[in-house]
Amino acid sequence: MADMHAIRVTVNGLPYEATVESRLLLADFLRDHLGLVGTHLGCEHGVCGACTVILNGRTVRSCLVFAVQADGAQIMTVEGLARDSQFHPLQEAFRDKQGLQCGFCTPGMLMRAYEFLQENPNPTEEEIREAIAGNLCRCTGYQFIVEAIQDAAARMAVASR
């Protein structure tokens, strides 16, 4: 049998233990082992950003990380964004600005935007464009995503006041 390793991770606040092959990708672990299918695989070679999740506070491409590398980590996925089925302000803003079409890049885009707004709560349009340049969207042409992130920043500023 292939080499197996016991790992413990916390995903969206819940603890999980599993025994996984060393070659198992974090993306496949989240999707196939934990059933968290909100994280999508677009290119599987680290360019498109659809599989972006937050690992110990920083975004990673879960197609480029092995599950065993996440042992002991705190992970956040798109499923962790809403609380008690209440949308996060980012989700509200994406809905109101139509910052999505097919929805496939959206979870990765939300994770990147979440991280970015922690770093820069009041960004300019140019800063947003640069911040999401590592996440491909084939539908929107990005403009409404940029508007949504600006709008989310404003909502979050109000919320934290």
């Binding site: 994280t39 290119c43 498109c48 798109v78 079409q101 097919c102 340049a133 084939r138 042409g141 990005y142």
Partner: protein
């Protein structure tokens, strides 16, 4: 003819998209999210060579790998399946199988398929399959492929030219003879593709006891042609149920993408367990069956000195790759709007469809008409340059005028309505065209290379099936391309609409349906629920593509709503003792005209319809409130027998004017956008925000085609841009901010006057970007005649322009 209601409550509103909440929560329910009990996984082995005979395949090591259930190679494929459905000319001479049988014809062509307990093991097993290839000479250049003695992609065909014909529409000879100016150019549009972030995938389940094959997939189109899929799978047509899953983008590339569901179905039947097969990115980029147009043009345009355009002569060689599944339908799209928005009197169209050792073409947003827009606009600009005219002036002079619609173009297609001067004026104002020209003048004085492009072009919508076969005198083909809906009002007065094709592939079908149903019944869109029905027991549906969906579904909804409303009026009339014609649907009620307090709620009427048969008027035979409606193409005609007139086949024609200002760095070949304006006329707009999203997204894809994206094949047929490291999809840093304007000229022939609008962005952007770059480089006299316009090409063009002439 549609009735043009003056005031509408829901059509025209930017309501938030109905689809978005679940997508934002990560609950999109894409096909790859689907898990069935006992499900196993497939992977395919792709050919590493572009052209080779398969001498032998040894799969014994793969078969003995623990976890492997089955390995299928081309050797078994003829027992397991029939050939793939193929709408191309002479399919028996270029037979397409789900796996390569005798030889491989392009790099990436599937050679074997493995089923295993998980995808990792399936891919391990693929690596253990030993294929002995005997390499054959490769042909990747379509011009070389046309020459006698070129290596043959399909020997039974005896040539690589799968189709050729010259069509003449109108008096081309006279128009060229009388012309005072004739411009000529050689134009090259390289191959790119849709590349949705979600690939094509399927989960198939076969019940050997019932013989029923159920396939969940993200590419269910043409449900009335799925008997062809059943035939390939060697099962009865009534034992196949394709169930659409929401698609994570398509842009045409999931249009009749049946190879993946067929592969999954074949394997599920073989192993007796549900099989999931989802393309990985390399599968999708090398063997999607949906590469875009790949055309080489020699074009002449005839004009008069005053700028009047007279005629167009086109010779086009199109590199279709190794198969030709849709025939030359992409050139039907071209002929639908080959004269653009101009009163060009005649057209000659000489077409060569050539086979080479590449992935075959399929559909990509525009389906070939985007190329024609680019060609026509490039040529109009060339005439303007020759005559020293401003791009605005030459377009204004040649526009079909608002009073001349419906207008029949030389090919026989009809443009339904339009106001091209109106769109142009809006665009000029929005862009501040004079201000841009002034800015350009100052920039040039400072030694900067700023250019302004302006184009005005067409966006045809709702294809007729005739465009897939009018190329041949015989045999003729199908003439239907319907779309259906089932509407059901439940006893609580809520409505469920069932759609029957690949309704969601990134656009907003649920939002659109909710708005149209709300409009029809005067209820709130939140009272409408949309579900996607499977093909078994479903109604005929064609699916999105050719910007047909909104018009066709709106028509189906109107038809079904009419049937339900008639029944409800009868019931209310009986109860209220008022003649049906004195009743109206308003604010969620059926009420008496002029006496709105005399009313029944829809719920009250629905309850009666379902539960109180003895209260119904005697002429109502059935309980319930449900109606099916199949809406056929509202305006299409047959081609003339001599094909000098192709009939009406793509008649709902939108229009757009795009203006772009760019600055080019002549040291690096890089460019920066200074302005991008898009004014569109898509007839009546259903949801302005969603339409704007389609336009901007299309601009981004058009920009990719214009500047970045190309499937580059080496001379030995290797795809050199086989990953996103090399196939460059525009990011947020490349796509400019788009300023949008709308003109609304309703179609007189469609429900509510809607025109299709899903493709317009990509149909305009390559042309306007080419014009802007050319204008920026005007001091060098550079001519932009090729896309993508990479930095290397810009530098080469400048260098060539500066080189001393011999």
């Amino acid at each position: 003819m549609a009735t043009q209601a003056p005031a509408r409550k829901w059509i025209g509103q930017s309501i938030p998209r109905v689809e978005d909440p679940r997508l934002l929560l990560g609950r999109g329910e894409y096909v790859t999210d689907l898990v069935l009990p006992g499900m196993v996984h497939a992977a395919i082995l792709r050919s590493p060579l572009a052209h080779a005979r398969i001498a032998s395949i040894d799969a014994s090591k793969a078969r003995s790998l623990p976890g492997v259930l089955a390995v299928v190679t081309g050797r078994e494929i003829k027992e397991l399946t029939n050939p793939m459905p193929d709408f191309g000319p002479d399919p028996s001479k270029h037979t397409w199988w789900v796996l390569a049988t005798d030889k491989v014809r392009y790099m990436g062509e599937p050679v074997a398929a493995v089923v295993a307990t998980d995808r990792y093991i399936a891919e391990d097993a693929c690596e253990l399959i030993e294929v002995n290839y005997e390499p054959l000479p490769v042909v990747v250049d379509p011009v070389e492929a046309m020459k006698p003695g070129a290596p043959l992609v399909h020997e039974p065909l005896g040539t690589n030219v799968a189709y050729s014909r010259t069509f003449v529409f109108g008096d081309v000879e006279r128009d060229f003879t009388e012309a005072e100016v004739v411009v000529r150019d050689h134009l090259r549009w390289h191959r790119s593709g849709a590349q949705p972030l979600e690939t094509v995938g399927a989960v198939a389940q076969y019940n050997p006891a019932t013989g029923m094959m159920t396939i969940y997939c993200n590419s269910v189109t043409f449900t009335f042609l799925l008997f062809l899929v059943a035939n390939t799978l060697k099962i009865p047509s009534n034992k196949l149920n394709l169930i659409p899953c929401p698609a994570g983008g398509s842009f045409g590339s999931k249009f009749w993408a049946v190879r993946v569901p067929i592969l999954a179905g074949m394997l599920a039947k073989l192993v007796g367990r549900p099989v999931k097969f989802v393309e990985d990115r390399i599968d999708n980029i090398t063997t999607s069956d949906h590469h875009g147009s790949d055309r080489i043009y020699d074009v002449e345009m005839a004009a008069m000195r005053d700028g009047t355009l007279r005629s167009l002569r086109v010779k086009v060689v199109d590199d279709y790759g190794a198969y030709i599944q849709f025939g030359v339908g992409t050139h039907g799209n071209s002929l639908a709007q080959v004269v653009g928005p101009y009163k060009i009197k005649s057209v000659q169209y000489e077409l060569y469809a050539v086979l080479t050792n590449k992935c075959q073409q399929g559909a990509y947003r525009g389906f070939g008409s985007e190329v024609t827009n680019w060609v026509v606009e490039r040529m109009v600009d060339l005439v303007a340059r020759e005559l020293g005219m401003d791009p605005v002036e030459i377009r204004r002079k040649n526009f079909i005028q608002p009073h001349e619609f419906p207008y029949t173009i030389p090919t026989g297609n009809m443009y339904d309505s339009g106001n091209y001067p109106g769109v142009l004026e809006k665009a000029l104002q929005l862009a501040d065209y004079q201000g841009l020209r002034e800015m350009q003048r100052r920039a040039r004085e400072e030694g900067r290379y700023v250019g302004i492009g302006l184009i005005s072009a067409q966006e045809r919508s709702v294809f007729s099936s005739t465009e897939f076969w009018f190329w041949f005198d015989q045999p003729t083909g199908i003439t239907s391309s319907p779309e259906s809906v089932t509407l059901k009002m439940d006893p609580m007065g809520n409505i469920t609409a069932t759609l029957y094709s690949q309704a969601f592939w990134g656009q907003s079908p649920e939002t659109m349906v909710a708005q149209v149903v709300a409009e029809e019944f005067d209820i709130d869109p939140s009272q409408v629920s949309v579900i996607y029905g499977g093909s078994a027991g479903g109604l005929p549906a064609t699916g999105p593509g050719g910007s047909r969906f909104t018009i066709m579904v709106a028509g189906a909804i109107q038809g079904a709503a009419r049937r339900i409303k008639e029944k409800m009026l009868k019931i209310a009339s009986h109860k209220l003792e008022v003649a049906p014609e004195d009743l109206e649907f308003a604010e969620g009620k059926i009420r008496v005209r002029g006496t709105p307090e005399r009313a029944m709620t829809l719920q009250e009427v629905a309850m009666l319809a379902y539960l109180f048969k003895l209260d119904l008027p005697p002429d109502i035979e059935e309980s319930g409130l449900e109606a099916d409606y199949t809406f056929d193409h509202p305006y299409t005609t047959m081609p003339a027998p001599d094909r000098k007139n192709l009939g009406v086949f793509y008649p709902f024609v939108g229009h757009a004017c795009h203006i772009a200002a760019v600055e080019v760095d002549i040291e690096t070949g890089q460019h920066t956008f200074l302005k991008y304006v898009a004014v569109h006329d898509a007839g009546t707009v259903v949801n302005p925000r969603s339409l704007n999203g389609q336009i901007i997204g299309g601009v981004a894809q058009g920009l990719g085609t214009a500047m970045y994206e190309q499937y580059v094949y080496s001379p030995d047929g290797q795809l050199l841009t086989g990953s996103y490291m090399d196939y460059l999809i525009p990011t947020a840093m490349e796509v400019p901010k788009v300023e949008i304007g709308h003109q609304e000229t309703p179609s007189p022939f469609t429900p509510y006057g809607i025109k299709g609008a899903g493709e317009g962005g990509r149909m305009m952007t390559p042309a306007v970007v080419s014009a802007a770059i050319e204008d920026a480089l005007a001091p060098f006299g550079v001519r932009v005649n090729e896309v993508p316009i990479t930095p290397e090409k810009i530098l080469r063009w400048i260098e060539e322009a500066q080189a001393p002439r011999p």
